[in-house]
Amino acid sequence: MSSNSKLSILTNGIIRENPTLVLVIGTCPFLATSTSAINGLGMGLSTMVVLICSNIVISMLKNIIPDRVRIPCYITIIAGFVTVVQFLLQAYAPALNKSLGIYIPLIVVNCIILGRAEMFASKNSVGDSALDGIGMGLGFTLALFCMGVIREFFGAGTFLGMTVTANLYSPMTILTMAPGGFFIFGILTAIVNKITKGRVNREFSGEGCPGEIEIGSTMSAIAEAASGSTVTEGGAK
């Protein structure tokens, strides 16, 4: 594989398939933790660490994990790394851990991670999967950081906690609250629409996440295999 295609794996997640701004997945943590630049950065980096580690491990184990139970296996691996990140944050960044709160354990159900495990890491080599994890993680982190900077600047008049506007205008506090999250995200997706000129076909899918249907069908396959039933309707998707 040439170095050119390695580079394209890396940049794919940052620009062309940016998980939040272009593919619109992983929206919950994106909206909730982008109240300030530092929160966004912390969440983005935590997710990136989990994504890289889980991508590497899943790609290493791709020939060992049986196909029918792969999704529960992936979830267990991801949950393990989330627990590690949770410990690290508690030990070294307690303030960040406190402000991110419940969204740290919720990294487990972030569609981006399970989606990349299913779509990329389970089919590609360890090195490529690591690169993909770095690219996707950077894309998510950059998007979160941008959104955090915008919301913090207009909502609180600060940048990374430093006051920058110095009473030039009174900050619109609502932008750091829930409605502002939806609104700024709407504007950002409109800008992305304009740039890509609608080339990327984006629509909210009913599933929300690529992995969700799969989990259901895999689990029912297990249950049916266990109950001795011969009917297999799992894997219809």
């Binding site: 919950c28 949950a79 627990t83 609502i174 709407g186 629409n193 929300g208 969700e212 249907i213």
Partner: protein
């Protein structure tokens, strides 16, 4: 009794899971196009939330805490929820085919819905008792239902509206959600007013 009602009302309208805490945004944006699917999804979510709490709260308090392995919370909870959803699906399919027809298609979507894992973790973090946890979960589910039903109505109106080209699709949906979220902010302080 008052504290149960207060917890339920708070999570239903004041700190609504979707509109104030950003939990469960995927189904909120994805399944809210039609009213009947919005209602079906919300009822399934409420059902799974209460059921998941029924199982995860005792696991945390009776197994993880005494053994001092509460750091396994994330791993255990997500696997329990995934298994539980499957179990419910199988039971419904076998014994209540009519209900399965209604809710069945939504159940697999719920496993990785962050609102379900969120509510179970929230119950533990807030140190709720078993009864309070159940109220919290039920209230969160009903709050989800309220948000979904209102938003399905909004999106129905939006279909016939004249929207600027650049905002069509996702951007205008998010902006409508922002306005809905503003209106829910008006409820802040209501519960303290009633029970305080």
């Amino acid at each position: 009794m008052a504290q149960y009602l207060s917890i339920m009302l708070t999570v239903m309208i004041v700190s609504n899971y979707v509109l104030a805490q950003f939990l469960g945004i995927c189904p909120f944006l994805g399944v809210s196009k039609k009213l009947d699917s919005a209602v079906g999804m919300s009822i399934a979510v409420t059902f799974v939330m209460v059921l998941a709490t029924l199982v995860t709260w005792p696991i945390q308090r009776l197994i993880l805490d005494p053994l001092k392995i509460s750091y396994l919370q994330t791993v255990v909870f997500i696997l329990v929820i995934a298994a539980l959803v499957q179990l419910v699906e199988l039971i419904l399919k076998k014994y209540m085919p009519a209900l399965y027809q209604q809710l069945g298609i939504y159940l697999p979507l719920i496993t990785t819905n962050c609102a379900v894992l969120g509510v179970t973790v929230n119950n533990i973090e807030n140190n709720y008792t078993f009864g309070e946890s159940l109220c919290n979960s039920f209230g969160a589910g009903v709050g989800f239902l309220i948000a979904m039903v209102i938003f399905a109505g909004v999106r129905g109106k939006m279909e016939n509206a004249d929207i600027p080209e650049g905002l069509k699709g996702i951007p205008i949906t998010l902006m409508a959600a922002a306005i809905l979220s503003v209106s829910f902010m008006g409820f802040s302080g209501v519960v303290e007013g009633i029970f305080g």
